[in-house]
C-alpha cells in the first residue's frame, strides 16, 4: 500500500508507539505530548498526517470538568500498528546492517 511504503520519521514513530502502548485505549493530545516530549507545533501536524493516512482514529470525549470543552482523543488503528511494526523492523535492520 502507498501509505505503508512511506518512511515514517522518528517523531511519527514515537507518536505511534505512545498510542500503541495504550493498547486500544484513547489518549489526549497532552498525554501524547508528555509521552513523546513533542511540542504542540510538532505534534498536531503529525497527528493530522496519521489521521489522513488512517493510522489513527480520533473522537471527541466530553470533559469531566463541567464548562470545559470536549477533548479530542486518539487511538491507533490496525494499519497504524502494522506501519509501526514495519518501521521498527526497518530501524532494527538498519542498525544491524554492516557499515
Amino acid at each position: 500500500m502507498a501509505t505503508r511504503s512511506r518512511r515514517l520519521s522518528q517523531q511519527t514513530i514515537d507518536v505511534l508507539a505512545a498510542l500503541a502502548e495504550k493498547r486500544g485505549g484513547w489518549l489526549y493530545g497532552l498525554q501524547i505530548a508528555a509521552a513523546t516530549d513533542l511540542k504542540s507545533g510538532s505534534l498536531y501536524p503529525i497527528l493530522i498526517r496519521l489521521d489522513e493516512r488512517g493510522l489513527l482514529e480520533s473522537k471527541w470525549i466530553d470533559s469531566e470538568h463541567p464548562g470545559r470543552p470536549a477533548r479530542h482523543a486518539y487511538r491507533i488503528t490496525g494499519a497504524g500498528r502494522a506501519a509501526l511494526s514495519e518501521a521498527l523492523t526497518t530501524a532494527t535492520d538498519l542498525r544491524g546492517a554492516p557499515a
Binding site: Y28, G29, L30, K39, S40, G41, S42, L43, Y44, P45, L47, I48, S58, S63, R68, P69, A70, R71, H72
Partner: protein
C-alpha cells in the same frame, strides 16, 4: 488576558476553515492544561501550526506573487525594451520619431503585460485581487513611481487651494494627482478587476476590462508617437480614464481596509 490566551485566540481567528476541528482540538487541550504548565509554549506551537497551514494553503499563490515581479524586473522588462528598440530603429523614420515610437511600444508592452499578470493572479485567488494588484504595481513600476512622483503627488494634494465657499481642495489639482497615479496603476488595477470578474463568471466585466486595457494601451502608445498631432483629441479621454481608475483604485483600497478590519474584529470577538 495572558499572552498565552491571546495567542490561542489568534490561533482560532487565523485557522483555515478546513482545519477547524483540529484547531478546536488544540484549543481544548490548552483549556485542559494545569495552571503551572507551560501554557505559553503550547499556545506558541498552536499559532505556528495554524500559520504553517495558512502558508501551505497559499504556497503557490505566494510563490507566483514573488516570482512574477522578479521575472518581470529581471527578464520581461528587458525583453520589452529590446523588442521596442529593434522594431523602432528598423523603421524608415526620423531619429526623433524612432525615440517616440520606442517609448510608445515600451509603455504599451509594459501595461499589457502587467494587465495579464494581474488578471492571472486575481483569477487564481479572487479574494486577494486588490492585494495582488498593489503588490504587482509596487514591485514593478510602483516603487519607481513613488520615489519619483510621491513627493510631488503629496504636494499637489496638500497644497491645493481651498475654496472659501465649498471648503474642499480645488478640483484640478486633485485630478492632476489622480491622473499621475492612474497613468501608472491602470494596468494592474484593471487586470486585478478583470481576473476577479473572470473567477466570478462575470464575462461582460472582464471582457470590458480587457477591451479598455487594450484601448488605453493603444492610446498610451499614441500619446508618445503622434505624427498626425491628434493628441488633443485623445488626451482628455485618457485623462478621464486615468482619473476614474485611480479614484476607483484608492476607493477600493479604503473599502478593503474597512471590510478587513471589520471582519477581523468580528472574528476576534467570536473567538472569545
Amino acid at each position: 488576558m495572558t499572552i498565552a490566551d491571546w495567542m490561542m485566540k489568534l490561533t482560532r481567528v487565523a485557522a483555515p476553515e478546513n482545519r477547524t476541528e483540529w484547531t478546536h482540538a488544540m484549543s481544548a487541550e490548552f483549556d485542559a492544561l494545569d495552571a503551572n504548565a507551560n501554557r505559553t509554549a503550547w499556545a506558541a506551537g498552536c499559532v505556528s501550526t495554524v500559520f504553517a497551514w495558512r502558508l501551505q494553503a497559499s504556497a503557490l499563490y505566494l510563490i507566483a506573487l514573488i516570482a512574477i515581479p522578479v521575472l518581470w524586473n529581471v527578464a520581461i522588462s528587458t525583453l520589452i525594451f529590446m523588442a521596442a528598440t529593434s522594431y523602432a530603429f528598423a523603421q524608415p523614420i526620423s531619429q526623433e520619431e524612432m525615440g517616440e515610437l520606442w517609448m510608445s511600444i515600451s509603455f504599451a508592452g509594459t501595461h499589457i503585460t502587467m494587465f495579464v499578470f494581474a488578471a492571472a493572479l486575481s483569477a487564481y485567488r479572487p479574494r486577494y485581487a486588490l492585494f495582488s494588484a498593489i503588490v504587482l504595481w509596487i514591485a514593478t513600476t510602483g516603487a519607481t513611481f513613488i520615489i519619483m512622483f510621491g513627493p510631488e503627488f503629496a504636494r499637489l494634494v496638500s497644497s491645493a487651494p481651498f475654496s472659501t465657499e465649498n471648503n474642499h481642495p480645488a478640483l484640478p489639482n486633485v485630478v492632476m494627482a489622480l491622473i499621475f497615479l492612474g497613468g501608472d496603476v491602470w494596468a494592474v488595477a484593471m487586470g486585478g478587476f478583470a481576473g476577479w470578474a473572470f473567477a466570478r463568471g462575470k464575462r461582460y466585466t472582464w471582457t470590458a476590462m480587457a477591451a479598455i486595457n487594450a484601448a488605453l494601451a493603444i492610446g498610451f502608445a499614441h500619446f508618445f508617437f503622434d505624427p498626425d498631432e491628434t493628441i488633443s483629441v485623445l488626451s482628455p479621454i485618457s485623462n478621464i480614464a486615468f482619473t476614474t481608475i485611480a479614484a476607483a483604485f484608492l476607493l477600493a483600497i479604503l473599502w478593503s481596509l474597512y471590510t478587513t478590519t471589520r471582519d477581523l474584529n468580528r472574528a476576534w470577538r467570536a473567538a472569545s
